[in-house]
């Protein structure tokens, strides 16, 4: 390798290492500051500043969905440790139902969450319908607890 190429290689290498180090630091810093959502137990622990607009994330508690007049709906979001009642007036996404992961944007009103937008979070599992039904049946037959209901191919 000629000296010029060697010099270029070292320079480019050094710049890349510096860029990688800078990015790592930014990512580490964002890890603490960049919060896409809060879970109900985090809200109950007082991690959210008063009056702030934020996102709440968790699972729709089974049997908690109450539909009011026209598009008004209320449900409980749970993360297993804490529950939070969410009120919403608008169109829900297709995937919204019991035990679905949802993310709602809004703010606290008293001790319940008033949402302006409700999004459904999809998981990374893709299963044909008949396979899912067969697994569901087998789970019920063998009394597998509800947490294991999620099909895994």
């Amino acid at each position: 390798m000629t000296p010029t190429r060697k010099r270029r290689l070292i320079m480019i290498g050094a710049i890349l290492v510096a860029a990688a180090a800078a990015t790592t630091l930014i990512v580490l810093a964002l890890q603490q500051n960049m919060t896409y959502l809060f879970t109900p137990s985090e809200i109950l622990a007082g991690k959210v500043p008063d009056g702030a607009r934020f996102r709440i994330g968790g699972m729709v508690k089974e049997g908690s969905v109450e539909r009011g007049q026209s598009l008004t709906v209320a449900f409980v979001v749970t993360d297993g440790d804490g529950d939070m009642r969410v009120e919403y007036n608008g169109i829900l996404p297709d995937l919204f139902r019991d035990k679905q992961s949802v993310i709602a944007t809004g703010s606290m009103q008293g001790n319940q969450f008033l949402a302006t937008e409700v999004l459904a979070k999809h998981d990374e599992t893709y299963v044909p319908r008949d396979v899912a039904e067969a697994m569901d049946k087998a789970h019920r037959k063998h009394n597998v607890p509800a947490e294991a209901d999620k099909p895994t191919p």
């Binding site: 190429r5 270029r8 290689l9 480019i12 710049i15 890349l16 860029a19 990688a20 800078a22 990015t23 990512v27 964002l30 890890q31 960049m34 919060t35 896409y36 959502l37 994330g57 169109i91 829900l92 996404p93 297709d94 995937l95 919204f96 993310i103 937008e117 409700v118 999004l119 459904a120 979070k121 999809h122 998981d123 990374e124 599992t125 893709y126 299963v127 044909p128 319908r129 008949d130 396979v131 899912a132 039904e133 099909p151 895994t152 191919p153």
Partner: protein, 253 residues
Amino acid sequence: MNTLSLWFHKFGSPPTFYRLSRLLCPWLFAAACLIGAVGLYAGLVLAPADYQQSDAYRIIFIHVPCAWMSLFAYIFMAANAFIAVVWRIKISEILAMASAPVGAMFTAVTLLTGAIWGKPMWGTWWTWDARLTSELVLLFLYLGVIGLFSAIEDRRQAARAAGFLALIGIVNVPIVHFSVNWWNTLHQGSTVRLLGPSRIDASMLWPLLLMALATHIWFFASVLARSRSSVLEQESGKEWVREIVQAQGVRRE
């Protein structure tokens, strides 16, 4: 010189590259179309509907291969840019710059199909979560490379300057890939994993892998096609180009 570096130098010479890519291009395009057609048919017709999203999930057969390609194209571009900046090999400069528009196209398709799927499934076209934002940054990096390359008059200088930008931007690639693990995102985690079991049924996985193969071949086909015309353009004064032009019986006005 050993055989590998000999081969490398031979392939790196513009006339050989031109002839080889002219030979390969039609075959690669044909293979990509054929495999893509089979993959699309398998994905859209043969694969069963999902238990949760029914038929709407079928957009993954476009979305996921394009998303993989958006990262793959960037790595390919950055690797060639690295060779171009350090060793000043002309073909690497051309290959790096040829892959930028192709990669940008794959990124745009990824963002577009993601938005179309996101509206009915999530309930929104767009959200500023880590995965979506970093993928958008990836698109801007591609556009920046293309823009910088077009802004400088001298082709070789332009390729090295834009290649330098491409090299720095490589730090975004792991961020895109790992964003769903590092942060709480609306976007779901990886379905297909190289390590450990994939979270997709085999009947849905094989059309997806076919589509991934088709998009890879398409990428190389269009990069070679673009590079071939750039090689001709940049070498237009050289003897071998004159020979090719004369052999084809084309007279310059």
